[in-house]
Symmetry: C2
Subunit: 338 residues, 2 copies
């Protein structure tokens, strides 16, 4: 599929869906839309993902495009009106639109009419299936080992770590799958429940449903975690995933240098060992789980040696092996996990 | 308002909405529908709430009724087809229907048509307002002291304790209000967000919205907690309320003799001190909160002396004063809280 990815004013640092798709999707990126960086290329900012030209609007793409993917998501998941022309242009040329926003594009009257007129689809991947319900507390019954990525905050790399670990496990000859819980993971894997968008009572159930569906088909399931257990807004989702997944092992993801909750800067991050205690103690009454490894996102650090020093400090605080799965490789974590 | 309350096969022990309404609502109960106990009266089972005759179906009530209230909620919140005749009969006689089920009665084609035909309303109180969004982490900015009831499990009395504490505080001359987060509380108070039914990402936000709305109008807010932080299915909601409410003080509610999660009996309850640590440690990074008192539901114990012994054991385990707010009175807790 030939795709364009909308990432206005957020590429690359705050466009985690766009980056995730460029890194892991099998689709062919034709262009990234970012009015702030038009004329540059993806490779100018991020060398290790699929490259594509950056343009300022959908109308600037002359080639055929199969789908426009919304590659950014503001806090709250609202649609920004400044994107309307791009979505309109995509639909007018018969191109599907794939969105992970809380605001459903298919409920937008103009977009719905344009999609019908031009015989193309709007896919709101954050719209949960209608048949979800409460957890039965049975995810631990599956044959697969379940490994959950948990975080010190949002946007520290949980999805990336889950993808890299599953890939590394497969390369090592194991049968491993990702359980996608967020819009980017769902877009990449082509299935999954948007756990942050389900009815709150069904949070754990939405995870359990995926694990029981896939758990006897694979040896290892890497569950994409969300948020953080101390996030003022999103901890409910984190807690529901922790109890719904009934994971055997946890990988604590953190970004080097992050000291406060992103977007909620008056809330300091507690210590690494506080996170370990919180996740393990909260998991235990439902299913014992240990933090067996750490993943440190060092993308903000230029020098490899500095990154290694941060990594060492993180390992010491954690009392477990850790690595940066993109900068170095996923092996250290994989060995601790398998 | 003259109301009938549907509680088939669950009255009184498993009909907590029905009981809550009989205990706290200003409405006038005409009858309780329970096909298992038709011919008896409420007072035969529960002496300290509003009395009413128990009948087997809506059609057996000859008097005029303003509203039929669904007073029970099975796990999952589904509608049971065996209730259809009662709801149909209510709507046919022009009587409103008030429901807190996850299944929205107003989306049921037959019920919607009957309501239109007979000019009456279906009120699904578990349908959340459309304008909820993510928490901003600001609930602690309000002037009121915020007291949250937390639990060792579902159905241990959190709503009852919140109601009794608010009432006792008002009787002591304070300006106190309840923040209702579940269907029963909402039915009693006539407003509130059904926090277990909102988008999971908005769980904390749905609580925060109510606290910021009411927090400068009262001296004390008693927030109705939900579920339990170690519940295999519902912990997400509990966690979202804990962080969204940013409470100053917590009251730990428990039922004497409860040893396993209700409906999930393979999950044992951890110790009381484990709960205290979990709630306090999880609250702290967002807003420091202490368990300052306990509420023990001793309704399953006949003898007052036995109840007092259980209470003493609970106080010792908790390291804080505790009482049964219905059997004895709310003063002990109120003194610890105010």
């Amino acid at each position: 599929m030939r795709i364009a990815i909308l990432a206005h004013e957020k590429f690359p640092q705050r466009a985690k869906t766009a980056l995730g798709i460029l890194r892991y999707s099998d689709d062919d990126p034709i262009a990234v839309l970012d009015r702030d960086n038009a004329g540059a290329r993806v490779a100018d900012f991020v060398p290790d993902v699929q490259d594509a030209p950056i343009v300022s609007r959908m109308a600037d793409i002359d080639e055929p495009v199969d789908a426009l993917v919304i590659g950014i998501s503001p806090i709250g998941g609202e649609f920004e009106e400044s994107w309307r022309n791009d979505v309109r242009n995509a639909l007018e040329r018969g191109c599907d639109v794939i969105s992970g926003l809380h605001y459903f594009l298919e409920d937008d009257e103009e977009f719905a009419a344009l999609a019908t007129e031009n015989d193309c689809d709007i896919r709101d991947v954050r719209k949960p299936p209608a048949d979800l319900t409460v957890s039965e507390g049975v995810a631990s019954d599956v044959e697969a080992d379940v490994i959950l990525t948990v975080g010190t905050d949002c946007s520290v790399g949980k999805m990336t770590v889950s993808m890299e670990l599953a890939q590394a496990a497969r390369e090592a000859g194991h049968d491993a799958a990702v359980i996608p819980t967020g819009q980017t993971g769902i877009m990449i894997e082509g299935w999954g429940n948007p756990v942050d968008r389900v009815v709150s009572d069904f949070t754990a159930g939405a995870v359990e449903e995926m694990i029981t569906e896939k758990g006897d088909e694979h040896d290892y399931l890497f569950v994409e975690g969300q948020g953080s257990i101390v996030h003022p807004a999103y901890s409910a989702v984190t807690c529901g995933i922790l109890h719904g997944a009934m994971a055997d092992q946890l990988v604590l993801c953190h970004e080097a240098g992050r000291e406060a909750i992103h977007g909620y800067e008056s809330f300091s991050l507690p210590t690494v060992s506080t996170y370990v205690d919180l996740y393990e103690n909260l998991a235990a009454p439902v299913n014992e789980a240990s933090v067996v490894a750490g993943a440190l996102n060092t993308s903000g650090i230029e020098d490899d040696e500095d990154a290694r020093r941060e990594l060492e400090a993180y390992e010491n605080a954690l009392g477990a092996p850790a690595t940066d799965v993109l900068r170095f490789d996923a092996k250290t974590i994989l060995e601790a996990v398998l």
